[in-house]
């Protein structure tokens, strides 16, 4: 749901830039305090993997497609602040080099697809995992729910921004955006759970990096 330029008004775009810039500045501070040697390749891999996975649009019913967002995964692996930096890097390259997502809209796109889902996904996952006795089950269910909700939350926020910009009324935008992304989110949940399950069986220690 990369917002192109034109879909949002200048005040909404400016507010997005302000919130994104503040979040990025704090994320740099918070991440540099906690980042260890082991986390360095993980940050590169997550940025690369999320970019690659975002190119793979999967079809959903109704002639629509969706692709992985990846914010939940980034935040689950390295914590929400590092997740914000990873998602910002992906969105920046997509906007500047591949013309996916507007330049003025970059701020709101970072907020919608980076800041908000990284925090929603991280805390939801952390809340759900301990509810299960079997850790693997908890990780998969937690990741799945986190993945689904991050996409729906991003879509709802996008609808609010479109409405604030006077493009489409909220009572039209919200059900439409939330509805289609509730389906796309199922893909996000499944992929998130599958990646976490794979890492848990191959290199379980890599799931503990965010605690460093």
């Amino acid at each position: 749901m990369h917002i192109p330029d034109g879909f949002i008004s200048t005040p909404v775009a400016a507010a997005g830039v302000a919130v994104a810039a503040g979040s990025i500045a704090y994320a740099v501070k918070a991440t540099s305090k906690r980042l260890g040697e082991k986390q360095i390749p993980m940050m590169g891999v997550l940025a690369a993997f999320i970019f690659a996975a975002q190119m793979l649009n999967f079809p959903i019913p109704g002639g629509t497609s969706g692709h992985l967002l990846g914010a939940a995964l980034a935040a689950i692996f390295l914590g929400p602040w590092a997740g914000v930096l990873i998602m910002t890097s992906v969105l920046l390259v997509q906007s500047l080099i591949f013309q996916d997502g507007g330049l003025l809209a970059l701020g709101v796109n970072v907020v919608n697809m980076g800041v908000i889902p990284c925090f929603v996904g991280y805390y939801l996952y952390r809340g759900v995992v301990p509810l299960f006795h079997r850790r693997k089950l908890g990780v998969m269910v937690g990741g799945g729910i986190a993945g689904w909700l991050t996409v729906v939350a991003a879509a709802a926020l996008c609808a609010v921004e479109l409405a604030l910009s006077g493009i489409v009324p909220l009572n039209v935008a919200l059900p439409a955006m939330a509805g289609v992304h509730a389906v796309i989110g199922i893909g996000e949940g499944l992929i998130t759970a599958a990646v976490l399950a794979l890492v848990l069986s191959v290199r379980a220690d890599l799931l503990e990096l965010q605690k460093a």
Binding site: M1, H2, I3, P4, D5, G6, F7, V28, T31, S32, K33, L35, E37, Q39, I40, P41, M42, M43, G44, V45, L46, A47, A48, F49, F51, A52, A53, M55, L56, N57, F58, P59, G62, G63, T64, S65, G66, H67, L85, S89, V90, V93, L96, I97, F98, Q99, G102, L103, A155, C158, L162, I167, V168, V172, A173, A176, M177, V180, I184, V202
Partner: protein, 99 residues
């Protein structure tokens, strides 16, 4: 006698290989509009979208490559490498800042 390999296979080499495998599948990706585009079309505001201010590699294809699948894969490999570099480089910088 067993000769130990000097280059240890690190976990993230495998992860990067997986990302490149994903990229080779990118020509198979669905070309249908994504969720936001679909809503923009059905609710009649798709036309307010502005064209990009400048174009580098729009639509994830490398221009001049006639085979569209290959053009997409090349763009994907380039983007994946750039993002690994940014993620890794940024993490190195932040780590250096900590010390």
């Amino acid at each position: 006698m067993e000769v130990k390999s000097k280059v240890k296979f690190k976990w993230w080499y495998g992860a990067l290989i997986l990302a490149f495998i994903l990229i080779t599948l990118s020509p198979l990706a669905s070309a249908s509009p994504d969720g936001l585009e679909k809503v923009a079309k059905s609710k009649g505001f798709i036309n307010v979208a502005l064209a990009p201010v400048f174009n580098v590699f729009p639509n994830y294809v490398i221009p001049g490559v006639t085979n569209e699948a290959l053009a997409t894969i090349l763009a994907g490999i380039m983007g994946t490498l750039i993002l690994f570099g940014i993620g890794y480089g940024l993490a190195r910088l932040l780590r250096a800042k900590k010390r």
